[in-house]
């Protein structure tokens, strides 16, 4: 037995000491080693051995409140959602083993797209295998050679990668600056086709885009289409939970909405909805849609069930907003430096001074039974180190109270807030 293990450990070439393709990562390895040498736990190596509910998991053998999951509406353990997944596993098997355009479109994929069309009130809906791929597919395919993509500087990595995958010219404007967007559009050739990509909620600080002003600025210029990524807005912004663009009343001005199933919907997958009469042609042109396997039947079944339930989730939405406002005010009153003046979304970001302080605070929270996300540059704006909290509609009022107590204790013990 021992021999077998020994053998398997040396089956492939082990060339760690040489200069090779991995040498460019030596900086990352050294920084991580230095951080871990201080005795802190690795913030990027958390394992949840048991997940008890949308808000509670076992980490290092201990019950831990989850405050960094993006499981905004707590749909992951909804009995109807889970049952739909089990039924689809029984009826359609574990996977499709194929592309949407070949053998990978089952009844469940069509039903999921029907649920999206109903949820968004649009003519078309297209399901991708992840939200990341939805942005890759839409941006890289819509904007071709000679076209322009205009993006916010704080755009999510999937938007940047969608730009890099395509052949269009990429122009950035300063985060959420209407004036900057307007100026840049004005400098582009009038006759060129342009795709402006905005996000409803920016996930690092949880701030919301001023969409009516941005849309008005875009409409001053010819040949522009607008895509809004509502990954962090779906489920609880707007009357129907469609997102920030609905809440701010600019539905008629948006050409494409991209979203994900891995936040409020509670599973995995991505989508784009649109009313454009030629939208369906994207199925034959978007490479991230064509050249990958489609979602497993159980996943689209859970997504469709969850989306339909989110249409009637008014009470949950109200509770999520109540939780978000209470946590924001509580943290602010304690003296934490937060990413926004008020609670603009269900993401509340605590800004720390540096990596050492951020990791110390993160670990203190974890030891007291609270999990939050740690985020660092270059993912964060302005080179900030952040502890990102995302609330869930299933957090009880009692849990929000516990969360505030834990933040107070951890903040004082690490010196982030005055003792």
């Amino acid at each position: 037995m021992g021999e077998v293990i020994e053998q398997s450990a040396t089956t492939m070439r082990d060339a760690g000491a040489e200069t090779d393709l991995f040498s460019k990562f030596d900086g990352i390895l050294a920084e991580r080693a230095a951080l871990l040498a201080t005795g802190v736990r690795d913030p990027y190596a958390i394992v949840m051995s048991e997940v008890k509910s949308p808000t509670l998991a076992v980490i290092n053998g201990k019950d831990t409140i989850l405050l960094g999951t993006y499981n905004y509406m707590g749909m992951t353990f909804d009995p109807d959602v889970v049952q739909a997944g089990k039924d689809a596993l029984d009826e359609f098997g574990s996977g499709t083993t194929g592309s949407r355009v070949l053998n990978g479109t089952y009844q469940g994929h069509k039903e999921c797209e029907d649920a999206l069309k109903e949820f968004y009130g649009t003519r078309s809906a297209m399901v991708f295998s992840t939200g990341y791929q939805a942005n890759l597919g839409m941006i890289s395919t819509l904007a071709g050679k000679g076209d322009y993509v205009i993006i916010d500087a704080d755009s999510h990595a999937s938007i940047y990668d969608g730009c890099f995958l395509g052949n269009a010219e990429i122009v950035r404007f300063r985060h959420n600056s209407v004036e900057d967007l307007d100026k840049r559009l004005g400098r582009l050739p009038a006759e060129a086709q342009k795709l402006v990509v905005l996000e409803g909620v920016y996930s690092m600080l949880g701030d919301v885009a001023p969409l009516p002003d941005m849309v008005a600025a875009v409409r001053k210029h010819p040949n522009c289409m607008i895509l809004v990524d509502e990954a962090h807005g779906m489920g609880f912004f707007g009357k129907h939970g469609r997102g920030v663009y609905e809440e701010q009343g600019v539905e008629k001005e948006i050409d494409f909405v991209v979203g994900t199933f891995s936040k409020s919907v509670g599973t995995v997958g991505g989508f784009c909805v649109s009313d454009h009469p030629k939208f369906e042609v994207m199925r034959f042109a978007a490479r991230p849609y064509i050249f990958t396997a489609s979602l497993p039947p159980s996943v689209v079944a859970t997504a469709a069930t969850s989306i339909r339930k989110l249409m009637h989730a008014g009470e949950k939405r109200a509770h999520l907003w109540e939780n978000s406002r209470r946590l924001h005010k509580g943290l602010r009153d304690m003296g934490f430096n937060l990413g926004t003046e008020t609670a603009q979304s269900a993401i509340i970001s605590v800004i720390l001074t540096d990596q050492t302080q951020a990791v110390a605070m993160w670990q203190a929270l974890l030891e007291l039974g609270l999990y939050v996300n740690m985020a660092r540059p270059p993912a964060t704006p302005a080179g900030w180190f952040l502890l990102r909290c995302s609330l869930c509609a299933e957090h009880s009022s009692e849990q929000v109270g516990q969360i505030l107590d834990i933040f107070a204790a951890a903040g004082r013990s690490t010196g982030v807030i005055p003792g």
């Binding site: 322009y148 500087a153 730009c163 010219e169 990429i170 122009v171 950035r172 404007f173 300063r174 900057d180 100026k183 840049r184 400098r187 582009l188 540059p377 270059p378 704006p381 302005a382 080179g383």
Partner: protein
């Protein structure tokens, strides 16, 4: 002063707030190697240059620009086109 010297001086003035190490600026000065700018600094700087000259330097173009001299040439070309 020639047009190029003029643009160089304007670019140099825009670099100053980001030139934390006080590096002497020349055509061959590299943004990444000499000025040691990270991606966030580059982004702020590019926005400042775009507004100074009323031009657009797309991210595609930015990928080709490594030195101050290359940036000055790009600005001259973009201004001529605009």
């Amino acid at each position: 002063m020639s047009d190029r010297q003029d643009v160089f001086a304007q670019v140099a003035a825009q670099i100053e707030p980001f030139n934390k190490k006080g590096v002497t600026l020349a055509d061959g000065t590299s943004f990444a190697k000499d000025l040691e700018w990270d991606s966030l600094t580059v982004m702020d700087f590019v926005a400042a240059i775009e507004d100074e000259f009323d031009i657009i330097i797309t991210m595609n173009m930015q990928a080709e620009i490594e030195t101050i001299g290359q940036l000055v040439d790009a600005v001259l070309k973009l201004r001529a086109e605009g």
